[in-house]
């Protein structure tokens, strides 16, 4: 199962701190001397493009969702309530974050703690839970470290935070805290 193109783009590196995000967007950073300009965009331009693309995200009001999607969104919101400081959790139509990725499954906004879930992920509870576990991992890692870099994908802090998120969800699940939302889900 592959969602991301196997071909990766190249950008000029202006700041090595942006390498993780560049990689996240399906690109690799190339460090070249300023005296050898290449007709390719920089990492900063790539990230600005991402910001512009994500600005076109359309939040889908609950009443425009199918019953099934709404049930899964309610489960996502119940999971989010288990953690302090999470912002609004919404269904959305999220554009691909770069031309090297095919879809964006979800977004986490570091300042506000808002989580958007791309509509197709709400088709099944299993994908909804996977996105929430992942995004809540960013949230917990960010709250623990105060660093966006430390809270990025596959960092030790993100992995530890996902472990914590998983443990809390399993504990609450066993205590029946999500039973109301689980009545009508399709795994």
């Amino acid at each position: 199962m592959s969602y991301k193109s196997s071909v990766r783009g190249v950008v000029l590196q202006t700041d090595s701190k942006l390498d993780n995000m560049t990689n996240h967007l399906g690109y690799v950073s190339l460090k070249v001397e300023p005296s050898s300009p290449l007709p390719i965009k920089t990492d900063k331009q790539l990230i600005q493009e991402m910001v512009n693309k994500l600005a076109q995200t359309e939040i889908i009001p609950d009443h425009n969702l199918t019953r099934r999607e709404r049930n899964h969104l309610e489960l996502a919101r119940a999971l989010a309530r288990s953690f302090q400081g999470v912002g609004l959790v919404s269904a959305a139509m999220i554009p691909p974050a770069s031309d090297m990725v095919i879809r964006t499954a979800g977004t986490y906004e570091f300042g506000s703690g808002k989580i958007n879930i791309d509509r197709p992920e709400l088709e099944h509870a299993s994908t909804t839970v996977a996105v929430m576990d992942h995004e809540l991992g960013h949230h917990v890692a960010y709250r623990r470290t105060g660093s966006t870099e430390a809270a990025e994908d596959l960092t030790p802090d993100h992995a530890r935070a996902m472990e914590y998120v998983t443990a809390i969800i399993v504990r609450n699940l066993a205590a029946g805290k999500y039973d109301e939302q689980l009545k009508d889900v399709i795994w």
Binding site: Y108, G111, A130, H134, L173
Partner: protein, 48 residues
């Protein structure tokens, strides 16, 4: 005089592709843990 600490430039939004979600979710065994926990709970609710 103490200089004010410069805030690092922040990237406000982390967009995740389905592949990135799957990679993290599978890598550390979270999928198995959550899937079996949810399926057990859903099955026990359906028996009630």
């Amino acid at each position: 005089m103490k200089k004010p600490r410069q805030k690092p430039e922040k990237i406000p939004i982390m967009p995740d592709t389905p592949q990135q979600v799957a990679e993290t979710f599978h890598s550390y065994g979270f999928k198995n843990t959550l899937e079996s926990a949810f399926l057990q709970r859903i099955a026990s609710l359906q028996r009630k």
